[in-house]
């Protein structure tokens, strides 16, 4: 006689009672679920709406476009935050001192920034206002963007900064290294030439600005990291630093807090005028990861006008009176918008844009190995989606395209998840 217990596992599965009870049990579960679901659904929906309202803040109408444009320009004209300037000066001074003291010390320093940060402006703001360091004459790369024809990068570099100088020692400033290369077969010759110069000419100290993504790429393909020993990054700004930096523009507009504190809250320290302000800038720091370019965009995005009540809206619709200039502006909770749906070829294009900082359409086509017409339509679609921004080129040059800074944090995560080599900023 075979003991049933010896086959306990299969018998448990195939027990006939199990078969009879299973349909009944399933039916009962469905019945209970059917009874529970409608009330639970209502309850969950109400809670979700409440939570959503809490996080979303209030629905605001956008501010008039001409005002937005004016504010954007005012933000673009803001000086580099003083913590960044001080840090850059201190690091540069230290690196130059080391270089002056030891023959084998590094004669180059790279300052890394986020791809949405204008690193050249940081250099300009910092160095133009300071005294020459250690008696060094400064030699700037006199460009403000990549030359229109990438094949002349090397000759223009030779002309502008690689010529031998009269001075015994000098400081060469390359405000943005991404101007000196293009991701194509012959687009890295300028970087190779620069690397040769840094290695061989030790009478000059090289100060190089670069975005994290370009640097990672150039380090991988040209091993620049081995050549430039001193690396420093533009640090993130704290909430109070962001406030100080934005204050000159902030003060030009009459703003009211859209999101009021619940109940009585303690007044924060002297740095903040109210608890709403403190909370707002902490949120701004959080969403922008301390990056001022993203923070500025998030701030502008959070401005709005309280929508008129429905009755007024109807009247307004009938009368077509337009904007009310006296209507106060409100500040909503800062947020980063969701990415629109992107295709595989969009990913390649966006990566190329971030890698090069800003780029013209012919250059973009070259880096993608695609025809101009196909790339043009794709760029147009991404401009419409708000992911790309078109900027006019300098002195009649072709327009440049950059990514919209506000999408950068999400785009970075998205490209990282899709196996692109993204910089760690």
């Amino acid at each position: 006689m075979i003991d049933d217990c010896q086959l306990s596992f299969p018998c448990l599965l195939v027990n006939s009672r199990f078969t009879k009870l299973l349909p009944m049990a399933i039916a009962q579960i469905f019945q209970q679920f059917g009874a529970w679901f409608p009330s639970a659904h209502q309850k969950i929906k109400a809670q979700a709406d409440e939570l959503g309202d809490k996080f979303k803040g209030i629905e605001l109408d956008p501010i008039p476009p001409q005002n937005l444009l004016r504010l954007k320009q005012a933000v673009a004209d803001l000086k580099t935050p003083s913590p960044h300037q001080e840090l850059l000066r201190a690091q540069l001074s230290q690196a130059i001192n080391s270089w002056s003291e030891g023959a084998e010390c590094d004669n180059a320093m790279v300052v890394l920034a986020s791809p949405v940060e204008a690193i050249s402006t940081v250099f300009w703001d910092t160095l133009s206002s300071s005294e020459p360091m250690d008696g060094l004459t400064r030699q700037w790369l006199p460009w403000s963007e990549r030359p229109g024809n990438h094949t002349i990068i090397i000759s223009q570099l030779e002309e502008s900064i690689l010529q031998p100088t009269q001075e015994e020692r000098s400081l060469v400033v390359i405000p943005d290294l991404s101007w000196c290369f293009l991701r194509c077969v012959d687009g890295l010759l300028g970087i190779e030439r620069l690397a040769d110069a840094i290695f061989s000419d030790r009478s000059r100290f090289w100060l190089i600005g670069c975005n994290h993504w370009s640097w990672l790429y150039l380090d991988r393909v040209c091993q620049l990291g081995n050549l430039v020993g001193v690396k420093t990054s533009i640090p993130p700004l704290s909430a109070i630093e962001l406030k100080e930096w934005l204050t000159p523009v902030w003060e030009t507009v009459d703003l009211q807090w859209g999101e009021k504190s619940e109940g009585e809250e303690e007044k924060p320290d002297d740095n903040w005028c109210c608890s709403e302000e403190k909370r707002y800038f902490e949120q701004l720091e959080d969403v922008s990861e301390g990056n001022r370019a993203i923070a500025a965009d998030a701030w502008l995005n959070s401005l709005g006008i309280s929508p008129p009540p429905e009755e007024e809206e109807e009247e307004e619709g009938e009368n077509q009176t337009g904007e009310n200039p006296d209507q106060p502006w409100l500040v909503d909770r800062p947020s980063i918008p969701e990415l629109p749906s992107l295709t595989k070829s969009d990913r390649f294009l966006l990566f190329s844009l971030i890698l090069h900082g800003s780029i013209s359409l012919p250059h973009l086509c070259m880096t993608l190995g695609e025809g101009e017409s196909a790339t043009q339509t794709q760029v147009q679609k991404l401009i419409r989606d708000g992911l790309i921004v078109r900027r006019p080129g300098n002195s009649g040059a072709a327009p440049r395209f950059t990514i919209n800074g506000i999408y950068y944090p999400r785009l970075k995560r998205y490209l990282d998840n899709n196996k692109f080599m993204v910089g760690e900023d």
């Binding site: 010896q6 890295l188 080599m421």
Partner: protein, 283 residues
């Protein structure tokens, strides 16, 4: 049927039981049970299709790094749903005491041994392959001279999608006899090798850096993985092989095209000579 009655009797006698009712192995089959059985069968079939389709759809929506993780789970879910349905159906129609269970497995073993040898071999291989994992859904494999991406992992066979978009069905039992060449083994990157041919007098010291740059500047290249250029001397010329990885193995052929197109353009501009082969005249 005769075999299982005989086996039942044999077992019962062995265990000293009286063979009162050999048909006891079948449970009472009622109309309701048949309807339930049909419903379970249809639900299982529908469940497998829905699960597969939704997992495949979902795997294409998520970021690249998670694509194969989701695809790899498809065989497990298929086996789980089939297994669950099998247990319920067996339970519904058979009265499985321990003796009956032995009789049925014995019967099944004999039937399978004679009639469905290859089928059983494929099914068992498929189950073993789930654990050994010589291939998974999403991998690019070469089996028995057939190359492609595994798009389906069935009970008996896998389906490959070839570069020409043909669907090739390969039974799992090829695993016993054929070598399985897996290009990416659960990763989204797979090495791509491109051959370039040059004349003997071509300047290799110019060619090699150009090929590195060609790979380093392609939008498809995964720069976190190595790029290697290998040179081989042949009687008709010099063979230079560029080995690198695309970010997504699905871009393998377009990646190859991109590398060749840009390399040929540069070699053409620099006037690097290609080998000249003697003409062979045949009838």
């Amino acid at each position: 049927m005769l075999i299982d009655i005989w086996l039942y009797q044999l077992l019962a006698e062995t265990n000293g039981e009286a063979t009162t009712n050999p048909n006891q192995i079948w449970a009472d089959i009622t109309f309701g049970k048949i309807v339930l059985g049909v419903v379970i069968f249809m639900l299982t079939y529908g469940g497998v299709i829905v699960t597969e389709k939704s997992l495949y759809w979902f795997s294409e929506q998520v970021p690249l790094r998670f694509r194969l993780l989701i695809k790899e789970s498809v065989p497990f879910w298929r086996a789980f749903i089939f297994g669950l349905a099998g247990v319920i159906l067996i339970n519904l129609f058979l009265d499985l005491s321990s003796t009956n269970l032995l009789a049925i497995t014995g019967t099944a073993a004999v039937a399978v041994g004679f009639a469905f040898k290859d089928y059983a071999s494929s099914v068992i291989s498929g189950m073993i392959a789930l654990f050994e994992r010589p291939y998974q859904v999403g991998d690019r494999v070469t089996i028995d001279g057939q190359y492609g991406e595994i798009i389906s992992y069935g009970l008996r066979a896998i389906q490959l999608q070839s570069p020409d978009d043909d669907i090739v069905t390969i039974p799992h039992n090829k695993m016993w006899t054929e070598p399985i060449i897996n290009a990416n083994k659960g990763e989204v990157e797979a090495q791509t090798a491109v051959d370039f041919y040059f004349a003997h007098d071509a300047d290799i010291d110019r060619i090699i850096p150009i090929l590195y740059r060609v790979a380093q500047t392609s939008k498809y290249t995964q720069l976190n993985l190595p790029i290697v250029v290998v040179v081989n001397e042949k009687p008709w010329g010099t063979l230079v092989k560029l080995r690198c990885y695309p970010m997504d193995v699905r871009d393998e052929f377009i990646f190859k095209t991109d590398l060749i197109r840009r390399a040929k353009k540069t070699f053409g501009e620099l006037g690097i000579p290609y080998p000249v082969l003697p003409a062979i005249i045949t009838d």
